[in-house]
């Protein structure tokens, strides 16, 4: 039995907080800032922060695939869009409009899309997976764009926000502050669930697929099933982001189902740091903030995607682990 010098294992005289304690203290601090922020921010930036959280949720859902299962999805716009249209359908068809039914319908829509995409594209690996997810998302785009009677075609659907309704406790119109808190609650819950999932035995299998798929199969795991599960799970959270976006902006539009949304999702992931779950939210914040500042500085017509695209390429070459990549192991422990 080898023994390390005692003071290296357990430093004497200094009390050190455990990793868990530091994590939750940091978590609490960030949460406190995000809860208090809308009370001090002006209206525009309040909405801006809420949207960053929604985009962050979309990117985080995609991180489950990119960072943990090792599959890059270029089709997340389909799940996001189906969530959006599902919510819109529920809000328009059922009166009085109900927030929770909107979420349910949105999730059902996203789950349907995710089942379809997962069934076909998980037969393929790596780049083939990326391409087929892209093509499948375009199928949904074409359907939504051309099926004018149900989806409003190019014009999309417009509706009014439901009440924030919690049975027996609370029932009032959304204002931008309660909207922010609601979104924050959903995103935080999603983060905690996803974090739990990635640390569970199921998540370990996903990571082992990322590291070595043939070996995972040889050990006896049904790789295809795990992949389908991860695509479905990822699609559900992307759909949730779509529902939130629809409720926040009171519309569903076909250009959110278009490929560019999926592209943005991938960019958020790479900039923020894949495999960290919080990184994509940071990436979304960085991207949206840079976009806002660039267009304020150089005018609305400024092609902000040129400098941001160059930043993206440079990051892939020189900093592929992203802004939060240095903390990846620590965050996932």
């Amino acid at each position: 039995m080898t023994t390390a010098p005692l003071d290296k294992v357990m430093p004497l005289g200094k009390t050190r907080l455990s990793h868990t304690a530091i994590f939750w203290i940091g978590f609490g601090a960030v949460m406190a800032v995000l809860i208090v922020a809308p009370l001090y921010l002006p209206e525009f930036w309040r909405r801006f922060l809420t949207e960053i959280l929604i985009w962050g949720l979309l990117a985080m859902s995609s991180d489950l695939l990119i960072g943990f299962t090792g599959m890059v999805s270029f089709g997340h716009s389909a799940f996001f869009g189906l969530g959006m249209y599902g919510a819109a359908g529920a809000l328009l068809a059922i009166s009085p409009p109900n927030l929770w039914l909107a979420i349910l319908f949105g999730l059902a829509g996203a789950a349907g899309a995710a089942l379809f995409v997962a069934y076909f594209s998980t037969r393929l690996r790596d780049i083939y997976f990326a391409i087929t997810t892209l093509i499948f998302s375009q199928i949904f785009y074409v359907i939504i764009f051309t099926w004018t009677s149900a989806t409003g075609g190019e014009n999309g659907l417009i509706f009014t926000r439901p009440h924030l309704y919690i049975p027996f406790i609370y029932d009032a119109r959304f204002n931008s502050t309660t909207m922010h808190w609601f979104v924050l609650a959903v995103v935080t819950a999603s983060y905690l669930i996803l974090r739990r999932v990635t640390q569970s035995p199921f998540g370990m299998v996903l990571q082992s697929i990322r590291e070595n798929e043939p070996r995972t199969r040889a050990i006896g795991y049904r790789v295809e099933r795990y992949k389908m599960m991860s695509v479905m799970l990822s699609g559900l959270f992307a759909g949730l982001a779509g529902v939130l976006y629809a409720v926040q902006n009171e519309f569903a539009a076909p250009n959110f189902v278009y490929f560019l949304t999926s592209g943005d999702t991938v960019i958020f992931n790479v900039i923020g740091g894949i495999g960290t779950l919080v990184g994509p939210i940071v990436g979304a914040g960085f991207f949206q903030l840079a976009r806002e500042l660039l267009s304020r500085f150089f005018g609305d017509q400024f092609p902000y995607l040129i400098p941001l695209g160059i930043v993206f390429i440079v990051m892939i070459i020189f900093l592929p682990q992203g802004l939060l990549g240095f903390a990846r192991r620590w965050l996932n422990r």
Partner: protein
């Protein structure tokens, strides 16, 4: 018997012949794009997301040269050369540092390139599509249509470029290098073939082929900054259906899918006819995931 007779009478023979020709013409353009894409994939192991943007930029460069000189054929050659140089530069700057990394990195990098190029084109040339006239105005009569000869010329020229490229692969020294690298890059390197140069050259050739098809296609619908994505998606479908990295397969698949789409356009709205190629893709993935036109499933 009567019902059968009615059924055959209901098929518009003239429309089918016209759509067959249309399908072959777009199929040849698609084949030209897809063969560059599949070549880059076969040699570099890179799925080039920016391929549609190279096609689009090639068309724009063609438009610029035509307005400057007035010669379509000069534009065709000039645009291919300009895009070959641009392609080589892009490969050296963005893809060479990624050799040996996870292939997913290269998809992301080419995706970034496509984003930059597309937004550059939008910013430089504006959202209004540019029209150029067909280089030859003669027509021939096809049933009730005045069918432009130019479309036939497109198909023939595309076939000639692909054929020339095949001869180049088969007989030139550089072509032999390319095939050797495709077979076994480590061995090729050991035999003294400059593999990094082959990579750059292959990317440049692929870009030039995309540019040539862009210029050929430009007179048909006009040029705008968003045309790249439509075509690269079609080319991706073709490449998957034809079998990744398989040149003959992607040419066959390009014509097959374009024919199906143009037949579907007889009965459907053109924007819905796209669904046909999606269905072909899904069926291929279900039953022959390695590609329809691959002789032995790997």
């Amino acid at each position: 018997m009567d019902a059968v007779g009615h059924f055959f009478q209901a098929i518009p023979i003239d429309l089918i012949i016209i759509q067959t020709i249309n399908g072959i013409v777009t199929g040849m353009i698609l084949a030209l794009i897809a063969s560059g894409l599949t070549l880059i994939f076969g040699i570099l192991d890179v799925v080039n997301f920016a391929h549609g943007e190279l096609f689009m930029l090639g068309a724009y460069v063609g438009v610029i040269i035509i307005t400057a000189t007035g010669s379509f054929w000069l534009a065709l050659i000039g645009s291919a050369l300009v895009l070959a140089i641009l392609g080589a530069a892009l490969q050296i700057v963005t893809l060479r540092p990624l050799i040996g990394r996870d292939p997913l990195n290269t998809i992301l990098a080419t995706f970034g390139v496509s984003l930059v190029l597309q937004n550059y084109a939008l910013w430089q040339f504006g959202p209004v599509s540019r029209k150029i006239s067909e280089p030859m105005s003669s027509h021939f009569t096809l049933f009730y249509l005045e069918y432009p000869w130019y479309r036939i010329v497109i198909a023939l020229l595309s076939a000639a470029i692909i054929g020339g490229f095949w001869l180049f692969l088969k007989y030139s020294r550089f072509g032999v290098w390319i095939r050797a690298t495709a077979q076994d890059r480590v061995m090729a390197q050991a035999m003294g073939i400059p593999v990094p140069l082959v990579y750059t050259g292959v990317f440049a050739i692929g870009a030039a082929m995309a540019a040539a098809s862009g210029v050929l296609f430009a007179p048909l619908t006009g040029v705008d900054a968003s045309m790249g994505l439509d075509w690269v998606l079609k080319a991706f479908i073709v490449v998957v259906v034809g079998g990744m990295g398989n040149l003959g397969g992607s040419i066959a698949a390009a014509i097959f899918i374009s024919l199906l789409e143009s037949y579907a356009a007889i009965w459907l709205d053109p924007s819905q006819a796209v669904i046909v190629s999606f269905v072909v893709l899904i069926l291929t993935l279900l039953f022959r995931p390695t590609g329809l036109f691959v002789s032995t499933p790997r």
